[in-house]
Symmetry: C2
Subunit: 318 residues, 2 copies
């Protein structure tokens, strides 16, 4: 008797077809110098080069283009720390519907400007999960817009899974795949696609030690919260939802936690050696292998560089 878990690989395949006209199939890059540091063969899936500068465009596009016309007409709304909001605004504009984006008032200016440039309507809130949710609910009540949660949504998870699907189509013989984990949308989609396409692969999440709720949740067996989330990886301050927690319990092999210094060092290597602008939340997935933390020596490792939206006027390099 097989169990039916959703979303599954069919949902990801459907998402691939749905979003293909609207997203980039991003390149996979390699670096002899980073391979040497890691003692492994690294294959970087460059979602920093995705439209809107992050993988979030995949899930947002899948969610918006899955809506029936009458649902879509009133627009969409989301609470977002930035990249999902920008992606939702961009995808909504492609479908010619309005997007309301609830952003914490401490979001980097570069992310706010991006949302505005894509035609999103920003409503600022306090930088707490509660304030975000309340503000989003108020906008939703006023406008009738559909809430598109950044990760607690099957269409979002399926869309995010298309990055790993592309990576494994191009590089079928990976031993390990690593993605950042925050709310768990990207890692959930990555795990579903990876285990379906290559059952023996190890799926690893990379998470800041300073916001390690996913690490602790998978240890304890129930969803843990973060008392504080003081990390430079501003995209990784959210916590798992029941939906993503259940997927990761089933399919994730390990959460590797890294320090702030390790995040910045990984970011610096990606900028200096690969000439890629990658944000802290995007560079974190390289940190476990560059620090040889996960027994990956000699292996072939897929690494999802999830985004590149960073404020150039306030960089952490000394």
């Amino acid at each position: 008797m097989g169990e039916n878990f959703r979303p599954d690989m069919n949902d990801i395949r459907e998402a691939q077809r749905r979003i293909a006209p609207h997203i980039h199939r991003t390149p996979i890059m390699t670096s002899a110098s980073l391979d040497e540091i890691a003692g492994a063969r690294l294959f970087f899936k460059c979602e920093n080069l995705q439209r809107t500068g992050s993988f979030k465009m995949r899930g947002a596009t899948n969610a918006i283009f899955s809506l029936a016309d009458e649902e879509a007409a009133k627009g969409v709304v989301t609470p977002s720390s930035g990249n999902h909001g920008a992606a939702l605004a961009k995808a909504a504009r492609k479908r010619n519907i309005p997007a309301w984006v609830i952003m914490p008032n401490n979001s980097p200016m570069v992310k706010r400007r991006a949302v505005e440039a894509y035609g999103g309507q920003i409503t600022l809130c306090e930088p707490t999960i509660r304030s975000r949710q309340e503000t989003a609910a108020a906008v939703q009540a006023r406008t009738g817009a559909i809430l598109i949660h950044p990760y607690d949504n099957d269409r979002i998870v399926s869309g995010q899974g298309t990055a790993a699907a592309e990576l494994l189509e191009d590089m079928p013989d990976l031993d390990v795949i690593i993605a950042p984990v925050s709310g768990g949308g990207l890692l959930s989609g990555t795990a579903i696609a990876s285990k379906a396409m290559k059952p023996g692969i190890r799926v690893i999440g990379a998470e800041p030690k300073n916001a390690d709720d996913a690490y602790r949740s998978l240890k304890s067996g129930h969803i843990e919260s973060n008392e504080t989330a003081d990390t430079i990886a501003d995209g990784l301050r959210a916590v798992l939802a029941p939906r993503t927690f259940a997927i990761l319990q089933r399919l994730a092999d390990e959460i590797s936690t890294v320090t702030e210094e390790e995040i910045v060092a990984a970011m610096r290597l990606l900028w200096e050696r690969m000439k890629l602008v990658v944000e802290p939340s995007g560079a974190i997935s390289a940190a476990p292998v560059l620090n040889r933390r996960i027994g990956s020596e000699g292996k072939r490792i897929g690494i999802i560089l999830s985004g590149g939206n960073v404020d150039l006027a306030s960089l952490p390099f000394k």
Copy 2:
């Protein structure tokens, strides 16, 4: 009666075959957002992603692998502001011969570290052309090493021309091609390849107003010098040599000069929108089109982003 100019397209084809095993065929990237700013279709040849982080690897590899065994045995020496030195060190190591690199004592640390990492032996000199040449001559006399000038050398010019040759192989229908100009090695090679492969193409050099010797030289008809060369584009402070001047007189259509602010603005757009780390000397070739200076609206423009070696601890972004 045809005239025979050397180097010619045959030399560039020979260079392509010679260096192919040692260099990257770099990708061509595009950006809808930069196209919109320029009002043109832009095709960026990403030599910042070349081995050693700049196009200089092409010429250096061609020069070193052109040497007879007995010439090569005593090694090579060069005066270089950085990228050529790093490339020469790397290419020399590939051929297993020593490389002495003469660098001005105000070169960015990131470039000095690169030369050392590739096994080059650095000798510092004063930041004047004369001091560089004298120091190089002294090393040459002491070691018997062959001098590989950064641009006053046919093999170097032919090697640099392979970037444009690849670009036009991949994108044959360009109307314009733009490369930075300093000593003129890259622009000379670019002009030779471009006019041979597509006679109607416009070949444009991009040069800092603060070090505009090439612009003035092509106006006056003889080689002009720079009284000062106070530009953030630290790779563009050299002046034309008779060899490159003659090639550019014959084949370059225009030199477009840009301000320091325009260089930084172009660099910032490449970093923010394309997520590419490009150094000021490499970003300058985008400045003429982003400022709509060269009548390029509606055209298809090839832009050589020549390098990406920049000190992350001292960036010009505010």
